[in-house]
Each structure stands twice: as structure tokens, then as C-alpha cells.
């Protein structure tokens, strides 16, 4: 699954590149990610993703294969294994920063390979979720950069295009991801329900709809029970007659 995202950042390219190289801070922008430690070029961490009822918690490494300061690009590879034993995930990410005249243009290219329960659940759901997660990441990153470089500037905007090499259907009709509050960029260790991200507002109402349904059912059952009781009492009376 190939994903691509571009974000405009209102800051000079060299400044942006320097920030992007700060792995600890960048990791904080990945939704559901947590950085555990470092071993040379390799960083250890976990990423937790939830798609509907399926949660995958990938524990693994991120390695920088190439950091090119002249061209302001970097190439990283991430590998993780689900701590619930239901498959692994691989990602190859290329980041490039170019001058767009007014500031910088951040381009993120990701090639994702996800196996196991989470990939098997709901055709296309993982593609949609990944796309949303990348958008979220880009938004978080842009916000972080904007805050660092020029506080008060409006958050950057991003666009995502995805090519699902798995041959699934095009992910269309998804609602735009909600803009991440600045706090999300700093504390994103909580797992994130990707599907609710995709479903958008509808998902938020579901619990209420379910609660309402249960309430109605309870009412109906109670009604039936009391009606039965009445009937029994009537029969008893007739019998005693």
C-alpha cells in the first residue's frame, strides 16, 4: 500500500529539515506511537492502531537508511511485530523538504505492508485508516513545526493520495480527519481508534444509539413481563372462581 502526503509549512526549508531530524519529537507526531529507546541509528518503539474491534500493537524498530542534508531528504525503514501475535507490519518512509517560494513543502512517501487480523478486517478499512493516520501525522508535524518556527501562524494543510497495491477498492467518501489539537502532537501514546477516525461523526453517535436501543428493549421486556403477570393473575382468579 503506497501513501503520499504533502504539507506546506511556513518556515525556511533548512529549519524544517533540522526539526524533522529530531526523531524524539517527530515520533510524538505519529498517532499511537511511543518511543522506547535508541541504539545508534535504530530507534525502538511501539505503534498501536485500532480498527473497529481489532487492535494491533506493533513493537519494533525505526532505522534511518539515509539522511541527505544537501537535498534535505531522509529515508527510514520501520518494522514491527504485533504484540498480540497476529502479524507484522513494515513501512518504508521517504521524507523530502523543498522550497515552495513562501516556505517549505514537506513530502512524505510511505510504502506500507501490514499483515494479520487488522489487515483482514473490513475490506479497505486498513487502507483508509492508514491514510487517515498519515494525514494526522502530517498535520501534527506541521503544527509542531509552525509552533516552533512561527507561533501563531495557522496550521498547514495537507493532501493525501493513496494507491492500494493490494488491489482493493479505492478509498473514497471518507470524511476529512479532524484537525488534531496541539496537545495531540506531544502526547500521542494512547491508542487511536482508526475506524472511528474514518467513520467520523457517525461513530460518535453509535454508543448513544446502542444505549437507546437497549433502553427500548428493556422497556419492552418489562412491559411484556407485567402483561404476563396480569394474565397469570387473571387465570388464577378464574381458576379459583
Amino acid at each position: 500500500m503506497k501513501l503520499e502526503n504533502t504539507v506546506a509549512v511556513d518556515a525556511p526549508p533548512d529549519q524544517v529539515f533540522a526539526l524533522v531530524n529530531d526523531v524524539e519529537r517527530v515520533a510524538g507526531c505519529v498517532p499511537g506511537a511511543h518511543l522506547d529507546g535508541r541504539d545508534g541509528d535504530t530507534y525502538h518503539g511501539t505503534v498501536t492502531v485500532k480498527v473497529g474491534p481489532v487492535t494491533a500493537s506493533y513493537s519494533g524498530t525505526v532505522r534511518f537508511l539515509d539522511v541527505d542534508a544537501t537535498n534535505r531528504s531522509l529515508h527510514a525503514q520501520a518494522r514491527g511485530v504485533d504484540t498480540h501475535g497476529s502479524g507484522d507490519a513494515e513501512a518504508e518512509v521517504r521524507l523530502a523538504i523543498t522550497d515552495n517560494g513562501e516556505g517549505s513543502l514537506l513530502t512524505i512517501d510511505a510504502d506500507l505492508l501490514i499483515r494479520g487480523k487488522i489487515a483482514q478486517f473490513g475490506k479497505g478499512a486498513i487502507a483508509l485508516v492508514s491514510e487517515r493516520l498519515l494525514t494526522q501525522f502530517a498535520t501534527n508535524l506541521a503544527e509542531l513545526l509552525s509552533h516552533d518556527t512561527a507561533p501563531g501562524t495557522p496550521p498547514a494543510t495537507g493532501t493525501v493520495t493513496s494507491t492500494d497495491t493490494a488491489g482493493g477498492e479505492d478509498a473514497t467518501g471518507a470524511v476529512p480527519a479532524p484537525a488534531a489539537p496541539p496537545s495531540a502532537a506531544t502526547t500521542t501514546t494512547d491508542q487511536l481508534d482508526g475506524l472511528s477516525l474514518v467513520l467520523g461523526p457517525a461513530a460518535r453517535y453509535l454508543p448513544h444509539v446502542a444505549a437507546f436501543g437497549v433502553g427500548v428493549l428493556q422497556g419492552w421486556l418489562l412491559g411484556r413481563l407485567s402483561a404476563q403477570k396480569k394474565q397469570l393473575r387473571y387465570f388464577r382468579e378464574v381458576h379459583r372462581g
Binding site: T83, G85, L113, R115, K117, Q120, K123, A166
Partner: protein, 795 residues
């Protein structure tokens, strides 16, 4: 031949003279409908532990490490075993064919190092409860050296494709040309018309509502491993279990309780039940495994992924002159036992000409192996596919020749019997032409042709499609031997036993998994003996109670099992008459069986109830004739003569296509079937309706898909689109009756027919509706997207 069958809801033997032909109420229903059935998951034994499997998450590769340390430390986990720990024999299906034609492949019970599909079992985890076992499975750590996956037949057959099995070149497990009429190329060259069809069908899951499962326990007193599992073939499971465990078959007892469907998926031996049984032995505790729906959709046996490249030659009058077919079946990662990966291509090759007089025939059938869950037989086995191809060929020819689609069939169906076809099969009498004519008449009488025209003016798009087919039911030992199977199903055994009170127990080696054998077999035996149907009880699904049997598949139960039961009942009847004549002090030819008694032919008032004869046979052996042994037990076997018997049917479908959504709506479904003598019309109709529903599922909805890495993308009902009652139309069924002379009751099999006819009939109807667009579809399922695209191409 007659078109009516007695249809009394409350039949009485004394009035009708037989139970056969009566819709006796299903014996199973009271317990099943009130939740008192006993399915595998209802079984709970003392100290029973629960099993699940660590399964491969990659489609192809080598396991570099399988670490079960954390699994074994998980609270509640009792044990975890890998292939090394259990050291079991492999499951290997063999055909007696040269290496160039068939490559046998070993299916290990648990994968050792090589993994070949996502979901392949690697280790069995056993815990105190079903929750702890899931935690244990999650704690397992497997590392793989991943290899590129082969996920389609094209990929498998491509040069330099990775090999799924190192011993199977070109990923081909079977490559056979069963028939090649000499001079067939000349026939094609000289023919007036040659039509070509490239058709394909998608991978499907037979999808029994009850997933697979097993409860295995060692019994010290019986010195037996008792394995309760939902299987269509208890004795075959016993054989493989004993082989894998290296034990005598005596020490294994397989019992099949009530079953929520099988449809072929449960007529092969699964790896999980063997592993669970081995674990039960190792732990000396009962072990239960119940497959969850996700595993059932991704790791259970699948079927039906086939493609055909077929040509047919016709003369100017529309008579078929030759048929040439190249068949490729994607059988997934392993050969299933006992049928092997050859099951689908061999079935298609052997039977493809079907109901038509085909003078020349050439066929090549191939089974290719891919990194997908393996295939097993599924209701109809290849027949839904090759029938669809044959019907497409005739439809295409009818268009090219400007002939009516029904007329071209009429000119080609077999009308004189017995008929020996180009495929060296002799067909017993059937109603191929009659069913076709009646079906068309019904469609005409209901005015569908006029309505189609009228509604077309209003912009509505209707189409009418037919499918005319036969199905061999009751394969004899000879028929399977012809396919070179080393284990040859065919015969079946039955025992009929009368107890001292006159009650009857029948045993059968067939295995009911929803077909209502308890009712049908009771009707057969009760009719033979002239006894109340309620006094006859069928016992099956127990390898200790039934001496041997081949189970239930290929519509064989009533033809083979029913005939064996009939013969055994006759033998018991003869003994009753013999003892009865002796006790009535009359000549042996002066007595008959009637309404639960032996009565004198010349004086109906002189009779002995069976209970009195049975009392003598067991409790007063001193009163028996000198030449007669005590007890009332008779046994018989049956194996059909020759090529067995062929049931047939014609289906007609009227569809409406909805522009905008591409939905295919079925407005009318008619079925005219001939399964010989119908023993219980209601049960026959139930079989037809259920089969048609599964056929429609294949025609319009179901499709198991994988991504390019071999990851299944249909592991839940979100993605595997199973039709519900809302999508399945009412089906009107008409019966024709050609009593079969090859079976004891005159019945032919009826279990699979519905599934066979539906895909072709639906596809033909859709193509008829699409006629103005000039587009013809040749693949199933017919998705709304395909239909919509075709409609948008409308001029």
C-alpha cells in the same frame, strides 16, 4: 414417468400401503427447533481443556523461530505443542497416476518449517478455558523468512514462478487429459460454426453455519480415543487419525453428533481435529476445539476457483459436433484427503458433456497449487462450473445461429436411454427433454415473455435464462476407481435390527448433516417391513455402532445407503416371514408382512404381531424353526451397478437489472427436477431450495479474495457477502419421476442438484437482459459493478 407424488402431511401406512412418497414430518425437527440438539460445542466433559491454534501470518516462507515460552507461561495455559512436540504422520492423498499426471503432496498436521498459506496451523495451545487459550495463542512468537506468495493460477503457471511444493514443477498437482477424440481438430475445421467461451468462477467457502470442531478424550475402560467431531465421513477420520497417531483403528472411535451443515467442507479430514486428538492423548485430558468464524473463513477448506477455455463446434442446424475444454482449478496449498487436489479437474473432465449428445470431446484438466487455503469438495463439485460453461456455449451458439436458446438445447439433449456418451459414461433414463419443455411451458404460461417486452417499453430491463443439467448421484466403487483413487468410496453397509418388543434400529454408514436421514431412512425401512415409521430409528455417525461406511457426499446417501438399508430390511423381513409361517403353522409362501404383523395371505384374520415374533426370536428360542438362529438382525451392502444413476433438472430464472445500482433482482425462480422416486417430497424440496440458495450465492455474491501478498481479505462477513433470506427468492419446484432401476427404492440423489443449476440459469438470464448492450458475461459472481458497467455501455 408421472408428474405427481402423494403429498400427504399425515401419512398412514395402512391407507397408502407405503411411507415412500409421503411428506412425513422430519424426525429431527422437535429436538433441533427446541434447542435440544447435540452439536459438538454442546459437549462438555469433566476436566475438559480448550484448544486453539497458532497460525501462520505469512502466505509463503519458512519459520525461522517458533517461540512458545510466553505461551506456556500464560496464566491458564496447560500446554502448547508444535509439530516437533507431537511428531505426527502427514496426511497424504494419492492417485494411482504417473508422476507426469499427478504429484502427491504431504500435508503435515502442524506445519514444520515451511508455511504455505495464511492461517496454516503451526502449534496447538491448550488451556483451562476458551479465554486463556486465546491469550496463549497471542503470546506465541513466530519469526518467518518470508518468500513471495503465489496467489493466482496464472502466477502459479508462469515461467520461473516460485514453487509452493518443491516436488511439484510448474505448481501443477494434476495434469490429465481424460478424453481426446481422434480427428477432433478436423471436426472443428470443417464445422459451420465454432463458438468460444472463457469462463471463470471465484473461490468460495461452503460455509456451514456450524464451524468445524472436535472434542477428543481417551477412555481407559474402552482403551479408546473417543473423538466427537462434526464430519461427513466418520470412518475416514478414524483411518487418518489411526495412521497419524500410529495406532490400530480399533483404539479410535469417531462419533459425529448433530451437525449444522457440511456441504463438502466436512467430507475431508482436517488437520485441527488430528492435532486436538493427539493433544488429548498427550495430556490425558479431554480437549475441545471449536473453530471461530475468522478461521472458518480464512483457514478452512475452500472451493470452486476455476477457469475454462472452451470451444464447441456446431453444424448449420445447431447440433453440437465437438467440445474442446481446457480446465484450470486453483486448489490452494494442499491436496485434501481422501479426494486429492484432482477432485475438481477430474470431476469436470469426466462429466462435462452432461445432458448433451456430444460426438467428439477433448479435455485437459489441471489442478494448480497456490499459497491459499486448500480446496475441498463443495456441494456440486465442479458441476456448477462446467454446466455453466456448457450452457454458455449453447447460448452463444443460439445467438450465432439465430436460434431460440431453448430450441438449440432441445435439438441436443439426450432423449434415448441408456445412452453411452463420448465420455464413456452410460446414462440411465432421465427427463432431460421433458424437464426442459415443462420448464419453458411454465415460464410461457406465467406470461414472462410478454411482460419482458411490455416492461422494456417502460424502460425496465428483464431477462430470462435456463439451465438444463444432470448429476451423477451415487458413485459406484468402479466410478472412483476410474479416477485412479487409491481409496475408493462406493459401497455402503447397513444393519437392520429388531428388538424383543418389535422396535427397529437401522444403522447406516452415511452421515446426516442436515438432510434428514433419520426421517428418510425410517420411511424406507418402515415401507419395506410394513411397520409404523415411528418405530424405526436410524443410528449413524459412530464408528463403533456402524461397521464401515463412506459417509455422505456426492448425493450418495439415499441411492447407496438407502439401498443397503432396503436390502437389509428385506433380509430381516424374510426372517420374520420364516418364523411367522412356522408359528402360524402355514406354508412359507402363504404369509406376508402387513401393518406391523406377519399375516396369512388366505386368511387375513390369522396374524402375528412383530412383537410376538421378536419375543420368540429372543426369549423363546425353543419355539424357533430348527434351521433358524436366534435374534433378529440382518445386514446388507450396496454398490451401484455400472456408472450409477443420473438425476436431472431444468431451472428457469427471470431477473431484472436495476440501472443505477447494477443490482440483479431475481423475480422468478422455477425448478423442474427428476430425482426418481421421491421418498419425502418436503425433504426433497428443502434440498432443492437450499441448493439453489447456495447456487445463487455463487452466481451473485460470494467471493473469497486475497491480496497480492496472499493475505486473505475476506476474514469476516463484512467482506464475504453471504446472501440472506432477503436476497433469495421463492422457488417453485415441480417434480418429474423416472423411477431408477439401479437403486432399491427407485430414488436418485438430490442433495446437490440445486447448487449446480443456479449459476448457469442466473448468468443466462443476466446475459439475456444485457442483450441490447451486446455484452455477454462469463464469470461469477456477477457483481453490481459489472452489471452497472455493462448497462452504461448500452447504446
Amino acid at each position: 414417468m408421472s408428474t405427481t407424488a402423494p403429498h400427504h402431511t399425515e401419512p398412514r401406512f395402512d391407507r397408502d400401503g407405503t411411507w415412500v412418497g409421503a411428506s412425513v414430518r422430519r424426525r429431527e425437527d422437535p429436538r433441533l427447533l427446541t434447542g435440544r440438539g447435540r452439536f459438538v460445542d454442546d459437549i462438555a466433559l469433566p476436566r475438559m481443556a480448550h484448544a486453539q491454534f497458532v497460525r501462520s501470518t505469512v502466505a509463503a516462507g519458512t519459520v525461522t523461530e517458533l517461540d512458545l515460552t510466553a505461551t506456556r507461561r500464560t496464566p491458564g495455559v496447560i500446554a502448547a505443542f508444535s509439530a516437533v512436540d507431537l511428531d505426527l504422520g502427514d496426511i497424504t492423498a494419492i492417485l494411482e497416476r504417473p508422476a507426469a499426471e499427478f504429484v502427491p503432496t504431504d500435508m503435515p498436521v502442524l506445519a514444520r518449517d515451511r508455511v504455505r498459506f495464511v492461517g496454516e496451523p503451526l502449534a496447538i495451545v491448550i488451556a483451562e478455558d476458551p479465554y486463556a487459550v486465546e491469550d496463549g495463542v497471542e503470546a506465541a512468537r513466530v519469526t518467518y523468512d518470508t518468500a513471495p506468495a503465489v496467489v493466482s493460477a496464472d502466477q502459479a503457471l508462469a515461467d520461473s514462478a516460485p514453487l509452493v511444493h518443491d516436488n511439484a514443477p510448474n505448481n501443477t498437482l494434476l495434469d490429465v487429459s481424460l478424453f481426446a477424440t481422434e480427428g477432433i481438430d478436423d471436426v472443428f475445421a470443417a464445422a459451420d460454426h465454432v463458438v468460444h467461451v472463457e469462463a471463470s468462477s471465484s473461490r468460495q467457502n461452503a460455509l456451514p453455519l456450524e464451524t468445524r470442531g472436535v472434542v477428543a478424550a481417551w477412555d481407559d475402560r474402552d482403551e479408546q480415543l473417543m473423538v466427537q467431531t462434526c464430519t461427513q465421513v466418520p470412518h475416514q477420520v478414524r483411518t487418518v487419525l489411526a495412521r497419524c497417531l500410529g495406532r490400530d483403528e480399533r483404539t479410535v472411535r469417531v462419533l459425529a453428533p448433530d451437525m449444522g451443515g457440511g456441504f463438502g467442507q466436512k467430507c475431508v479430514v482436517g488437520r485441527e481435529e488430528i492435532a486436538a486428538a493427539a493433544a488429548a492423548l498427550r495430556l490425558e485430558r479431554p480437549v475441545k476445539w471449536i473453530e471461530d468464524r475468522r478461521d472458518a473463513l480464512s483457514a478452512a477448506f475452500l472451493a470452486r476457483e476455476q477457469r475454462y477455455d472452451a470451444r464447441a463446434a456446431f453444424d448449420a442446424e445447431g447440433h453440437i459436433l465437438a467440445l474442446d475444454a481446457d480446465i484450470v482449478c486453483d486448489m490452494g496449498a494442499y491436496s485434501c484427503y481422501p479426494f486429492s487436489a484432482g477432485i475438481e479437474p477430474l470431476m469436470a473432465s469426466a462429466e462435462m458433456p452432461g445432458v448433451y449428445r456430444v460426438p467428439a470431446y477433448r479435455v485437459r484438466g489441471r489442478a494448480v497449487t497456490t499459497n491459499k487455503a486448500p480446496s475441498a469438495p463443495y456441494r456440486g463439485v465442479s458441476r456448477p462450473q462446467y454446466v455453466m460453461v456448457m450452457e454458455r456455449l449453447f447460448e452463444r451458439a443460439s445467438r450465432e445461429l439465430g436460434l431460440d436458446p431453448v430450441e438449440i438445447r432441445r435439438r441436443n439433449v439426450i432423449t434415448t436411454f441408456p445412452y453411452t456418451g463420448v465420455n464413456a459414461v452410460t446414462y440411465d433414463p432421465g427427463t432431460y427433454l421433458e424437464s426442459l419443455n415443462l420448464c419453458e411451458q411454465l415460464v410461457r404460461d406465467e406470461g414472462w415473455y410478454e411482460r419482458k417486452e411490455q416492461l422494456a417499453d417502460a424502460g425496465r430491463i428483464l431477462g430470462i435464462g435456463y439451465c438444463c443439467f444432470n448429476e451423477r448421484t451415487g458413485y459406484a466403487s468402479d466410478a472412483f476407481a476410474k479416477r485412479k483413487m487409491t481409496v475408493v468410496p462406493g459401497f455402503d453397509l447397513s444393519q437392520v435390527r429388531m428388538d424383543p418388543s418389535g422396535g427397529i434400529v437401522v444403522t447406516s454408514g452415511t452421515m446426516n448433516h442436515g438432510q434428514s436421514h433419520e426421517t428418510t431412512f425410517a420411511q424406507i425401512v418402515a415401507s419395506r417391513l410394513g411397520i409404523d415409521v415411528a418405530r424405526v430409528k436410524l443410528q449413524q455417525g459412530d464408528t463403533d455402532r456402524v461397521s464401515y461406511g463412506w459417509g455422505t457426499f456426492a448425493s450418495r446417501s439415499v441411492t447407496i445407503g438407502g439401498s443397503a438399508a432396503s436390502l437389509a430390511a428385506d433380509r430381516l423381513g424374510a426372517k420374520l416371514l420364516h418364523i411367522g409361517a412356522h408359528l402360524l403353522e402355514t406354508q412359507p409362501d402363504n404369509v406376508e408382512l402387513h401393518n406391523g404383523a406377519v399375516r396369512q395371505r388366505d386368511d387375513h384374520s390369522r396374524k402375528l404381531p412383530f412383537s410376538e415374533i421378536a419375543t420368540v426370536a429372543y426369549l423363546r428360542a425353543d419355539l424357533l424353526p430348527k434351521d433358524t438362529e436366534p435374534g433378529l438382525t440382518a445386514e446388507a451392502s450396496f454398490d451401484p451397478a455400472g456408472d450409477g444413476t443420473f438425476a436431472n433438472a431444468t431451472h428457469a430464472v427471470v431477473v431484472e437489472l436495476h440501472p443505477g445500482t447494477g443490482q440483479v433482482e431475481i423475480l422468478r425462480y422455477l425448478c423442474v427436477e427428476d430425482c426418481g422416486v421421491t421418498i419425502n417430497p418436503q425433504i426433497v424440496e428443502g434440498q432443492c431450495r437450499g441448493g439453489i440458495a447456495q447456487g445463487i450465492a455463487g452466481a451473485l455474491f460470494e467471493q473469497i479474495t486475497y491480496d497480492s501478498n496472499g493475505e486473505p481479505s475476506c476474514a469476516s462477513f463484512i467482506d464475504y457477502k453471504v446472501p440472506t433470506a432477503a436476497e433469495i427468492p421463492d422457488v417453485e419446484i415441480h417434480h418429474l419421476e423416472t423411477p431408477c432401476t439401479l437403486t432399491e427404492s427407485g430414488a436418485k440423489g438430490v442433495g446437490e442438484g440445486g447448487t449446480i443449476g443456479a449459476p448457469a440459469a442466473v448468468l443466462n438470464a443476466v446475459n439475456d437482459a444485457l442483450r441490447p448492450t451486446g455484452i455477454e458475461l462469463d464469470a461469477t459472481p456477477i457483481t453490481p459493478q459489472t452489471v452497472q458497467r455493462a448497462l452504461e455501455a448500452r447504446p
